[in-house]
Assembly symmetry: C2
Homo-oligomer: 435 residues x 2
Amino acid sequence: MKILLNKSKIAIIGLGYVGLPLAVEFGKKYSVVGFDVNSKRIEQLKNGFDSTLEVESSELKKSELLNFTDSTDDIAKCNIFVVTVPTPIDQNKCPDLTALKKASEMIGKVLKEGDVVIYESTVYPGCTEEECTPILEKYSGLQHLNVKNMHQVNAGFYIGYSPERINPGDKLHRLTNIKKVTSGSTPESAEFIDNLYSSVVIAGTHKASSIKVAEAAKVIENTQRDVNIALINELAILFNKLGIDTQQVLEAAETKWNFLPFSPGLVGGHCIGVDPYYLTHKAQSIGYTPEIILAGRRLNDNMGSHIVSQLLDSMNEKKIKVDGSRVLVMGLAFKENCPDIRNTRVIDIIKELARLNVTVDVHDPWVNIDEAKNEYGIELIEKPKSGMYDAVIIAVSHLQFADLGSEAIKKYGKKTHILYDVKYLLKPNESDLRL
Amino acid sequence: MKILLNKSKIAIIGLGYVGLPLAVEFGKKYSVVGFDVNSKRIEQLKNGFDSTLEVESSELKKSELLNFTDSTDDIAKCNIFVVTVPTPIDQNKCPDLTALKKASEMIGKVLKEGDVVIYESTVYPGCTEEECTPILEKYSGLQHLNVKNMHQVNAGFYIGYSPERINPGDKLHRLTNIKKVTSGSTPESAEFIDNLYSSVVIAGTHKASSIKVAEAAKVIENTQRDVNIALINELAILFNKLGIDTQQVLEAAETKWNFLPFSPGLVGGHCIGVDPYYLTHKAQSIGYTPEIILAGRRLNDNMGSHIVSQLLDSMNEKKIKVDGSRVLVMGLAFKENCPDIRNTRVIDIIKELARLNVTVDVHDPWVNIDEAKNEYGIELIEKPKSGMYDAVIIAVSHLQFADLGSEAIKKYGKKTHILYDVKYLLKPNESDLRL
């Protein structure tokens, strides 16, 4: 392997929540081309603005060797390619590898002997070598080097996998202070990739023994989180039926040293609600049905409808007619204090209510109005009106809602209304209904 | 409520892993009668020996106000009764409340106005008030005082629930340094019970808002652990099929700050493999089927048979005939470095192998030979012989097995044999098979 790190030119393919912070860090030390197919995004970044709010303008400026482009020509001269494109699921909850395959095709067309292609996108174990590598080989006409052929094949490229661990909106856990798992298709390339990342990640790296191990490690992280939240959701549903306050139970249990503090709620976003499906897809393809992971997914995917049915019960008790009623949903982002609406499950509440002929107003001070419109066809309201609603649902615990407080939130409601605090934002006695 | 703590006489009903340490701590400050139906146990304790190895003889001596008895007459003068009897499951995995009900009957017969009965046994939410209290009322002819009747009823007794959090064999987390959840049937009795426990538990107490909340908090602690181990077991089975080493994946994932370090394995013992069934029993009785918890239980209960089928595959590959073979199982206790064999799932491996006409030798340096014989009809062997076995299974990671090391363990095997390291006691390359 003849690549010299300090003479390398790195292309980052995909400049979203994952790619941009990575491009910025690499761009402080190495010559970097940040590529995205979204021209508007490139334009904004060139103007020093990151609409995901992950990177401040001042940080962008510090990355002096980083240039942005939406033209494939500009990546041709690079010799290290890092793929950070989205790997979502389709409508059947199956892996949607479209972006990953397109990126591989694009890279394959410019790939040269000795180049390194590193994938960061979350996939199932085996995906990088089974799905991406053949595309790179096809379009480059080169072979990839691995432990089996590295002593026979002369001309080829290297593959690596280093899973992203970006936590959107988290200002404490950043790229540079989260330990990073690395791997490569040969011992040499694994070492090279490990050195590449450890040169920018202060927290250090963990070199996995194979690409598959690194892929598996990534996909189980969010799977574990998903199952843990699902368990708490299952408990919340049960305790609700038993007339026990879930939060009080959790508070008592959390006084034990090894109880894990998870909270019930909607599970959305690009990771936790998606990654497990990648793993279960692979499992099912080899004839194994992962019961626990799938039970967790089913339960979490069903929470929106559970929340609506709880609300309907309460409205019924208070003699509020559901048909033709008006409900305020506070929060659309998939998590608190973050503009990210990718795979938000608040949408399930909204759709379910709309189906019941309820007029739903959605208010979220964090979310971009155009994005909500384009993504979900929702016209966010800038400010809810007083005395307007038959029910108010606090769906996301944004700081702004906590600052408002229960009195101000209750004022949005009609004289008789239901206030549903899904996120335990208020004190137990300040709402009519809690998860 | 007229009880004065310093003039109280406490009866502890059931002197097992939970009751004895509690009796010992209370007996340092208060007059305590430790009761158990097992006369042999009482005799041993009177002689200063605790066969569960939870309390040292020197500790027993320090508890100067503690007396042991197997006679119900001796508890008649007590005014505080703490129930620490086992709550196992029956053969249909349903709660077996026999000991709990018998203890309640016994206490009911001696119960006086103003007395306090505190349950520590793990139960489902509602059990104390629905199952135990009516028995106490029936045999005492008194009413229990609660928030609904306390202003009307004059003569009655109080109920409390303070779940045990004893971790058998754990020398770090002891009764006095584990925060304890308390609760009572009235605000006054809740306060009294909280003071009682906080006078001996240095780590302090958490007063739950109701008995039901305290019951629920306890039962979800081990349920959460059970589900987490089940998830890792599910992953281990999957990675096994994909040819990926589970431990390597877990090691990589654990470099993330919020990944929870659980390991695959058998889930036995009196708590983790049992408590979830209490919760699911209650859930199903009200028509709710907790999918995740039950999926976890199914998977964990099935691990013994999974381990055997993995072993058979390997024996087959190495052309070792299963029928008529001889297998050494190292470890019978439900966890490492502890003599506790209650609900050990190692038994599943032993039974499954015996069913296949395999001669199974079981070796466990921690377990009492008579207890293994009485409980499971197993004749433990004191020392395995060299060159004797077609397969060796390290089922429990006792210190002694680690000290032996792979070379010594391999010597138990015939020239061609399988060494199955269920517990990752050895390095990856030192065994033929891992979970």
